[in-house]
Each structure stands twice: as C-alpha cells, then as structure tokens.
Assembly symmetry: C2
Homo-oligomer: 318 residues x 2
C-alpha cells in the first residue's frame, strides 16, 4: 500500500500551465480571466452504478472527465480547470495508471488542466469538479426557453443505453453497431465546441445525462413552458432505429441516460445559423419540436397524434 501523497505525486501531478499553484498545496490558485464569470459543476461516478467495477480504467478516467465537461458545454462555458476527488479501496497501480491516462487524455482534448484533488481509501468513487469561464449574460441556462423556440438535439440519442443493453445480454447487435454504441457509452464526447458556438444563438440548453424527456423536462419546468416533440424527428441511431417498434427501444431513445448530447432551444429565426454550426463542427443537429406556452410535454407521431410516454428517465435512487 502506498500513501496518499505518493499516489498524487505519481499519477495526478502533471505540471500545470494555466494555474498559479496546482496540486501540492492546501488549495490551488487560479487566475480567473478579468470580466469572466466562473462556471462550476461537480459530478460523481460510482463503481457498480455508473460504470462496471471491472470496466476498462482508461475509459472510466475518460468518462469521469467527459461527463463533467458536458455540464460546462451545456452552459456555453470554456473549460479551464478540474479537481479530482477519488476514493479507492487500495492503491492499485495497475488500475490507477490507465485511469489517470484516460482522465488526462480527455482533459487535454478539451484544454482543461487538473489542478488539485484528494485521494482517500474507501469504495471506488470518482468525483470531478470542473471549472470554466463564460462572459456575463451569455451562459446557456435552463430557465430561458421561450414559447415558439425550436427544440434541437445534437448527435444521436439512445446509443449508450443500447450498448448497455447489449453488454447485459438483453439484445444482440452486429459487431460494427456494438463498437459505435460502446464508444458512445464508454468514451462520450462532451459537446464543448457546440456549447461555445451557441452562446449568442440559443435561449436555453441542458446536457442529456438522464435521458431526453427528463432533461428537457428540467428546461420546461425552470422556464415555465411546455413542449411538443415529433417522434419521427428524434435522432435514433440506425442500430437503434431498427428496434423502434419495441417499447424498450423507444425507452432507450426517449429516456436512455448517458448520451451527453446537448438539448437546446432557439428562435426559429436562427435555423440557418444553427445548421451552419452543425456543418462547421461536423455534428448532426436535429430539430425535434418546439416550445409551447401550454405546459407539459406532448410527444406526437407522424400523423400528429399524441403518443403515450412510458417513463421519465434515469432515477439515481431507482
């Protein structure tokens, strides 16, 4: 067994460039840019709940950082710094080395520096606190959706939930489809560039971590509006589209967690700009419905008939 200090020193103390003082003192010292607001969020991943206890540690490291970056993406914030609080049953180099590699790889890909943290013994849980910057008034909040806004979603929905089902042996997928869906589950790509591009365009945004219906529901609740969604407009990955006549597959699409795409609302007048952003980023952006004054969420089929909504999303205590 090694001590906390030796662990931090060996795996989590790469030099920092954008901090005045990084890991190794009582606190990190960070020079927030003049005129910027600080955007800050924290998310925990628990072994056996958010990832399989025997999952590839590189992927766990990547995903722990990615799901936190996704929160900043949903605010339109530029990621800057991160802190890691990790609790682990033993100081296992064979696990920590690839974990830290995955964590740093994701951080580097999104220009984020690990500047501090805490290592302690206990059941395996990883908590990241992520910090970014956003100019005042430009953050993409949940409470600014307006009636008449289009509702958009990036990428595909339900891939991660489909991969999870396949890994649990509940559905069989062709190898290539499984590879794509597993990548969505294990190496999610936070939509940081999209969030930054939407700063002057979108009214409201959220990242889809608990499923489309649950997360869009937060926008509706906080903005005090309702929504109509067109089922046929939802971006179901081809591997999932194949099964959409079955309730479990519709559930993956509507309520599958772990997508880390952005759901956002914007005035109809901005459709051209939004399409151009999607083209510039090489990212599929789908217009899936609109915000209504009438409260509640209505899901319509291709004939405009309301469909039954089966469940609400991922519940952390379900």
């Amino acid at each position: 067994m090694r001590s906390e200090f030796s662990l931090i020193g060996r795996f989590f103390s790469r030099p920092t460039h954008e901090a005045v003082l990084g890991a190794g003192d009582d606190a990190a010292l960070l020079p927030v840019s003049p005129g910027m607001q600080l955007a800050i969020s924290t998310d925990t991943l628990v072994a056996g709940r958010h990832f399989f206890a025997d999952a590839d540690p590189y992927g766990v490291g990547w995903k722990t950082m990615a799901v936190n970056l996704s929160d900043l993406a949903a605010m339109g914030a530029q990621p800057r710094w991160a802190l890691l609080a990790i609790t682990l049953p033993e100081a296992d180099d064979a696990w920590l080395a690839p974990f830290s590699k995955g964590l740093y790889a994701c951080a580097r890909a999104f220009h984020t520096e690990l500047v501090g943290g805490d290592t302690t013994g206990g059941p395996l849980t990883c908590t990241i606190t992520i910090l970014g910057e956003v100019p005042p008034e430009l953050a993409l909040r949940r409470d600014q959706a307006k009636p008449g806004d289009d509702i958009w979603v990036s990428g595909w929905l339900g891939e991660a939930a489909l991969a999870l089902r396949a890994l649990q042996g509940l559905v069989e997928l062709p190898d290539d489809a499984l590879t794509i869906c597993r990548a969505a589950l294990e190496r999610p790509s936070p939509r940081v560039e999209l969030g930054l591009s939407l700063r002057h365009v979108a009214h409201a945004a959220i990242d889809i971590s608990d499923g489309l219906l649950a997360d869009l529901g937060h926008i509706l609740e906080r903005s005090d509006v309702g929504a109509e969604l067109h089922f046929d407009s939802l971006p179901a990955h081809p591997a999932l589209a194949h099964f959409l006549n079955q309730p479990w597959a519709r559930n993956c699409l509507l309520a599958g967690g772990d997508d880390y795409e952005l759901c956002f609302t914007a005035p109809a007048s901005r459709q051209g700009e939004i399409s151009a952003i999607g083209e510039r980023l090489g990212l599929k952006l789908s217009r899936i419905g609109s915000i209504t004054e009438l409260p509640g969420l209505r899901l319509l089929d291709d004939r405009g008939t309301p469909m039954t909504i089966e469940r609400g999303g991922y519940d952390h205590f379900a």
Copy 2:
C-alpha cells in the same frame, strides 16, 4: 426512495445571494471579485474511515464543511462558495435533514454559500469543493518557509486523536475533558480568521489534518528547509498532557490527525504582531521551534537533546 432532484430540492437548495446562478442548472455561475485569485480545494469524508457510520449526522455535515474551510484558512483565503457531491446508500430523510443543517450551519458561520452539487446512490461519502478568494502574491503557500523563521501552531494539538482513543475505549477521560476533546473531533473550527490575519505576516502555512509532523514535513519538503521543534513548547491540551509519559500520547500530540489547527512560519521580527493577532482572536498561538537550513526535522527535549520520532502521521491507506 426519492429521486436525486427531490433530494437536492429539499435539503440542498437554499437560496444563494453571492452567486449569479446556484444549484439547479448544469453549472453554478460565480462572480469572482476583480483582481482576486481563486483558491480552490476538495476533500472527501468516507463513512467508516473519516467518521463513524453511526455518527451524529449534524456533526458529519459540520465537519465535512469545516475540513474544507480549513484548507482555505491555510491559504489565507476568504471563503466564498462550496459545492457538495454526496453519495449515499438510500435517500434517508432522517439522516439528510440534520446532515444538511450541520453543513449549512458551518457554511454560514464562515460566510460560505452552497451553490451546487451532485447526489447519487452508493456507499456513504461526502465530497466538498470549496472556493475562496485571495489577492495575488498574498496566499500562504507551503513553499515559502525561510531559515530562521519561527514555527507557530494555533490552538491545542492531539485533542481529536485523544477523543478518538477515548471513544474506542482505549483510554478513560473525565467527562469534561471528553466533552472538550469530542468537540475538537466532531465540530472542528477552521482557522479562517487566523489565515486572513496572517496574509501579510507569515511566510508559509498548512493546516494540520494528518498530524503536526506530517504536515510540517510538507512545508519543509516544499520549501527545501529543515526544522527544530521543542517538545516542551508543543501545545498539548491539559487532558493529554497528563499522559505524555506514554508513547501513544506523544503520538497523539505529534501525529494525531484531525486537528485542523494552522502550522505557520514567520520571521522572528513578527513575534509581537503574531501575539497581538492571537489576543485579538482569543486564540492560543504557540511558538514551537524554528526553520533551519539543515534539512530534516529534529525534535528536542527540555535539555536540547534530540528525541526519537516514532511515526510520521496519518496515512490514508494505512
């Protein structure tokens, strides 16, 4: 069982005054004061390791916040905001209500706002990320101790370790002594005011979470200096002083964790100012030794003879 959102709403969503946007969006938005550096730190408390699983939840809430504030105190930073990531096996109102009360009580006592967090199911662990502000160049770092500096420590040492021993039935204490030592263990008081007062006075500082020798050792290592400590100058609480002829009691004093006092170094020319600070704050400040060019840490008895140092401090994987 309740959902994450209901938990956050019921126990951790008191209104914020100093944040642009608090809990309830993807990230909190914080207005860092112009010209200030951000000081940020994170610390995790694990049930069964940092507190007894059946400990009074109010005290667990207080202590989780206090140990984090202590890190800012050691930087000379003014606390501003905190985030809480809590993992708990079930949504137990009877535990969460007093836990959140203790957490908020400590936060309020030190002018800190809870602005966000994450709640998830899993083994009971509480991680706080704490944010404060400090003017550039005035932070109390670990790497600025100079040969000739006096070494100081606030309050008493070893009280928390003595209380833990008493609770484990390894030593018997009179009721009044147990009450005082338990308060040190369960309701530690972060030395925020002291840290702020030392901004223009101290060269280096650290908070004593892992025991005096281990924590002073970090200052020595990072400042590339050594130290001489005078055993008779160490502030052993009277309840502990009584046992100092026994090795376990000397160990409480030198290496007992959980003290959350500050250890700091300052030029000898500042002794008068430091005594005045102690009087103003009603806080015992003891001069316990001095920084030397010669590396290593030497503990001297009342005749100046080196004493044997038995162990190094709390190891999170011991």
